[in-house]
Amino acid sequence: MKFRRFPKFRSSLLSRYFLIVLAALLFVPVVIPLSFLATWLMNSVVTTSQEKANPNYINSGYLTANWHDAAKQLADASPDKINQRLKEYKKKYPFATIFWVDHSGETHQLPPVLRKLPVQWSLEDTIQYMKKGGSDDNFFTVVAFIGDSPNKRQGFMGIEVPRSYFIKGASDSSSFSLFGITLLLLFAFFAGLSYLFFRDIRKRLLTLESAMHFPGEDGLPQKIHTGKADEIGMLEQSFNYMVDQLRESRIREVEEEHLRKRLVSNLSHDLRTPLTVIGSHLYSLKKENLSEQGSQSLTLMQDKMRDLDHLIDHLLSYNLLTSGKYAIHPKSQDILRIVRESAAAWYPLWEREGLEPDIDLDGESLIWPVDEQAFRRVLDNLFQNIVRHAKSGRYIGLSVECSPGRPAELVIHDRGPGMLAESSTKGAGLGLAIVKLLLKEMALKLDIDSTTEGTRMRIHP
């Protein structure tokens, strides 16, 4: 499987992060004007839609401008023309009071009359009316000099529209709140975008973490689904690759274990078979009539053969133990029972070799979590060491010792020359190494006090 060192920029997290940062930077210079535009657009849309919804509604600003425009256009117009023009307005705004006052102060009100106006306007009336901008708060009044200038002396024209007909134009405050809402929405959009971005990253990282943390049935992490081809996607790919590698190595390990066990079994067989044949011939030879020297040599050969046999056994066991392929299943049981049975098996040999057994294992049982076979192996190796190296002490002691504040100990005691003494049968200490490894596997300890007077081996939890 091939991996890119870096993902494509387009699909990388880096590019997406850049986009978000860019959006954040553009927020002030672009987004704020944009929000103004949006406000304006919304305003006009709202207005248009209101106008569409009710065509009678009118806009005050528009009406004022329009009225002044009309007045300007009517400069030097005849009274008929003025009436004609105002009639058009009346048609358009039938609910409005439309009138004009000529330069003599006479009122020309367009029918139907909705409000009573003075028939003749004095100068004060005119000033008063213009000042007040109409007589009633309920009306919106626009007054314009005909010709749009008092100098034309054509009088003035006015229009009064009930206020209910006006669109409530977008006031400053309402447009400000609209702007605020827009800004807030944009903020929310930006925050949401960031949240989604990081939520996605977080979710994928957590998935990866849980895949690492919770192994499957085979004790290995499970492969995960790879998503986008960004940095995390690559991490996911690498993770899956690692799981594959782990699985392969696990399979290799099992095969290796199997091979090693078979090799050890076969080696054991191949080494012991010729040894057995040699042994058989030595045995046959011993029956022959031999000189004393020949008989001595034969005994020596038999002894060495036995040593070789033990050595093979130790080597193969050590090999299995150090490679962790020696199956040990400790369970709580009375070890004194195992010690007694083991001692019973060794007893005849001790007698033959002139060792005086001193066995004091009576009393309480000693419950330790041990694997029976492994514990027997420990005892066998220790007893064998005594037979081989401490025979001269003519003593082997087995006892249980309890001292206050300490767990009970199994003590194996000899009166040999000690472990530091030279022995013709001394080997590489494999037997003891195996003992230590086995005891360690069963959470037991071995303490050895060895002097030239003898050796005390204490086994305890």
Binding site: K261, V264, S265, S268, H269, D270, L271, R272, T273, L275, T276, V277, I278, G279, S280, Y283, S284, M305, R306, D309, I312, D313, L316, S317, L320, Y326, A327, R337, R340, E341, A343, A344, A345, Y347, P348, P357, D358, I359, D360, L361, D362, Q373, A374, R377, L398
Partner: protein
Amino acid sequence: MAIQLLYVEDDPEIGSWVSQDLKDRGYEVKWLKSGEGALDAAADAHLIILDVMLPGLDGFTVGQRLKRNYPQTPILMLSARSSIDDKLQGLQFADDYLTKPFHPDELTARIEVLIRRSGSLSDLPLELGHLRVYERENRIEHKDTGEEIILTGKQFQIFMYLIRHLGQIMTKEQIYEAVWGDPYLDGDKTLMVHIRYLREKIELDPAEPKIIETIRGIGYRVRA
């Protein structure tokens, strides 16, 4: 009638040596070089000695088949494979597992124990000191006077158990559990009392027992 042994071993040198040695010791030996034909040959064998590494079917498979067909016949595995795994696998069906190289005396001793344990007893009485024991008839008599020694049930069972494991030291737990059939829980006193009464009946001088030997701290032994 001599005890008949079936011996399966592919190595010619070891095979010829062992079978000759066993014949010299008075056994009747049928030696096969592979597991083939072992099922037929085992029909009248009192004990089967089986190697593990055999051409064709391995010793474990052959042994399992033999045990299925002749559950009463003891099987002794005699193998150069010494690992715990091999031993445990072998002992699932075999009665004993001896590794090569071995001393012929040890092989013989184990054969004797297995034969005794399986009940393939000879008609010849067993002589133990001043005693003569007829195992088939469950009878014990004084060699010189011919007087029968009557034992109680438990005393007899203890004595017979030790005789079946002649020459072996049996721990107190082993004896107690074999005779009483209960787990040994401080059955120490009970066993000691029974042994004392047993000795009063069979020993010439119960204060200095010669037949049942006490192995201090371990158990008891009846020497051959």
